[in-house]
């Protein structure tokens, strides 16, 4: 009897050793962060700064490191199409690598008066690579290869429903890129 109790106690102790007893081993890892210049950059499109409708200007403002962009357009009723507003470039220097890109719509355009808002991405041979619905959040065009030394252009197409007051609105989207295409961007 005493032997049986000892065996049970030993088993419980063994179980506790497996479940509740941790053995910590520390392996040193040294992480060094060396930031680099952006290998993919924005460029103003050929029509940035050009004349827009209503006596306005097509406003395209790039961030100081060409890694952000602010665009202001002035569409009217029906379909207004802006050709080559913004460009995405993978210049050979400094990176010289291929990248995979997509567009992630973060804060979509709202309002029924805008019946459609689309960004169209074309390569230098004028092939349509993908479109992004600027009225619906989500990631579009992943993983489109932006080869080393290539530049893509972005066109914007806006459709405003006739018969409603002229609307205003904004949309925020991100150009997302990665040297790998295995998994979609979070």
């Amino acid at each position: 009897m005493r032997t049986s109790r000892a065996i049970i106690l030993l088993a419980l102790l063994t179980l506790l050793a497996l479940v509740g007893t941790a053995v910590f081993v520390y392996l040193p890892v040294n992480v060094t962060i060396n930031s680099v210049g952006p290998p993919v950059i924005f460029q103003a499109g050929s029509n940035a700064g050009g004349t827009d409708l209503g006596g306005n200007t097509i406003q395209v403002t790039l961030g100081p490191n060409s890694s952000s962009a602010t665009i202001v357009l002035h569409p009217t009723y029906q379909k207004t199409y802006y050709h080559d507003i913004l460009q995405v470039s993978n210049p050979s220097p400094p990176a010289g690598d291929n990248y995979y890109i997509g567009i992630k719509v973060v804060s979509p355009l709202t309002g029924a008066a805008f019946s459609s808002a689309v960004a169209r991405v074309y390569d230098s041979a004028n092939n349509l690579l993908f479109t992004a619905d600027l009225k619906t959040a989500g990631t579009y065009g992943w993983a489109t290869l932006l080869p080393d030394g290539q530049t893509f252009r972005i066109d914007i197409e806006i459709v405003i429903t006739e018969g409603v007051p002229l609307p205003s609105g904004s949309v925020t989207f991100e150009l997302v890129y990665s040297p790998q295409s295995v998994t979609p961007p979070p």
């Binding site: 097509i58 665009i71 009217t76 002229l166 925020t172 989207f173 979070p186």
Partner: protein, 402 residues
């Protein structure tokens, strides 16, 4: 042993973790702001007969219906005796007067052929109004003669029964052969006052040569059906309308179907045919015209219901003074009877290479079922009836009874 059992399956899982979760992503924020503006170009209804235009609420779209057939048209000049007069008068023995009355018994522009004479059994006299006409070159579906006329006459002495009739002839101007003749009995008796009546008859369209020249004649005739002991009479033939209306077998339309103007700025505009559907055979040309600088674009071309060219060249659209339009959209179409077309057009304009605006335009071309009616002529010249020596064939026509 237990730890080995747990650890061994973990090895491949841990091996793949860097490949599944370890991708790095960079995000570049982009802000797009849209501040919409009023349309710089607006569409307008040209107000053209046979064209129905429904504009969108902001005049940036249009739905248009063009009646290709319009109405049957008149091939007789001055058929209502108001406008320019090519009519010639050939008198008879007693019917020797021909005048034009500015108005008579509620009608404007009335031809009056009249005369008086002595009666006997077998008496007959006739006079003519006539002119040369040209048959249309396009195929004709049908053609009608319309005569609006009345007579005033009386047997002033003796006892006679008179027959007054009017016969329309169409005579080939080259062969002098009678192609068509239709007689309308105007009255029978001994006296009458003018009561307007419309007399109608169909022509044998298959007997005419497209583009051929013909004489259109109206013979006014008085005949004595019975006369006792002689007598006398007077007769006045009044004609308010004498025409031949032809309905083209292939309905046509040529004209402006839409206008556009720029409120500000200078733009390059063009028309594109996006899609089309057809019933029957449709030929059409569509082009832009800048009336300010008198230039027009190349055409969208449709031949036998097949799109040959789907886009026009560009024209400049500018601001113009109020009441004027710098951009006209033209249509020249011929369709088979009962045919129709639905054309989805886009008016595209650009302020520079980079900014395009597109307005949808729905253009329907139809052949409406109504083919009746009598077109009028503009009263633009002075009426005059001429009297000349009768051509030789007139004597034959005096006694011609269809």
């Amino acid at each position: 042993m237990l730890s080995r059992i747990v650890a061994i399956p973990l090895i491949p899982i841990l091996f793949f973790i860097p490949y599944v979760l370890g991708a790095e992503f960079s995000y570049y924020p982009t802000s797009l702001t849209l501040n919409s503006v009023s349309p710089p170009i607006s569409l307008y209804d040209p107000g053209v007969s046979g064209v129905t235009v429904s504009l969108g609420p902001n005049s940036t779209s249009a739905s248009i219906t063009v009646k290709a057939s319009a109405q049957p048209f008149d091939i007789v000049a001055n058929s209502d005796f108001i406008g320019p007069s090519p009519w010639l008068f050939i008198p008879g023995t007693d019917l020797i007067s021909a005048t034009v009355l500015p108005s008579y018994l509620g009608r404007v522009g009335v031809a009056n052929v009249s005369g008086s004479g002595s009666l006997f059994t077998g008496y007959t006299d006739s006079a003519f109004l006539y002119q040369q006409i040209t048959w249309p070159t396009t195929p004709i579906l049908f053609a009608n003669v319309y005569l609006e006329a009345c007579v005033e006459y009386a047997v002033t002495s003796g006892f006679s029964i008179l027959l007054l009739d009017a016969t329309v002839f169409v005579v080939d101007a080259n062969t002098l052969a009678v192609v068509d003749s239709i007689t309308f009995i105007l009255d029978v008796g001994s006296s009458s006052t003018c009561t307007w009546n419309t007399y109608t008859g169909g022509l044998n369209v298959g007997a005419y040569t497209p583009g051929g020249t013909y004489y259109f004649l109206i013979r006014y005739r008085v005949q004595s059906l019975f006369t006792l002991f002689g007598g006398s009479y007077y007769a006045r033939f009044y004609t308010d309308l004498a025409n031949i209306t032809v309905a083209p077998a292939n309905p046509t339309f040529l004209g402006i179907f839409l206008l556009a103007n720029a409120s500000t700025g200078i733009y390059n505009a063009s028309l594109s045919l996006v899609s089309a559907s057809f019933t029957g055979t449709v030929d059409a040309n569509i082009w832009l015209r800048n009336n300010t600088v008198q230039v027009q674009s190349s055409s969208i071309t449709i031949s036998a219901s097949t799109i040959v060219t789907s886009q026009t060249s560009e024209l400049i659209v500018t601001t113009v003074p109020p009441g004027y339009y710098s951009l006209e959209m033209w249509l020249d179409t011929t369709i088979s009877p009962g045919a129709s077309a639905t054309l989805n057009l886009v008016l595209k304009y650009r302020i520079q290479d980079g900014v395009y605006v597109e307005y949808p335009i729905l253009l329907n071309i139809v052949d409406p079922p109504d083919r009746g009616g009598q077109p009028s002529e503009p009263p633009d010249k002075i009426f005059k009836i001429l009297s000349i020596d009768p051509p030789p064939y007139i004597e034959f026509l005096r006694s011609y009874d269809p």
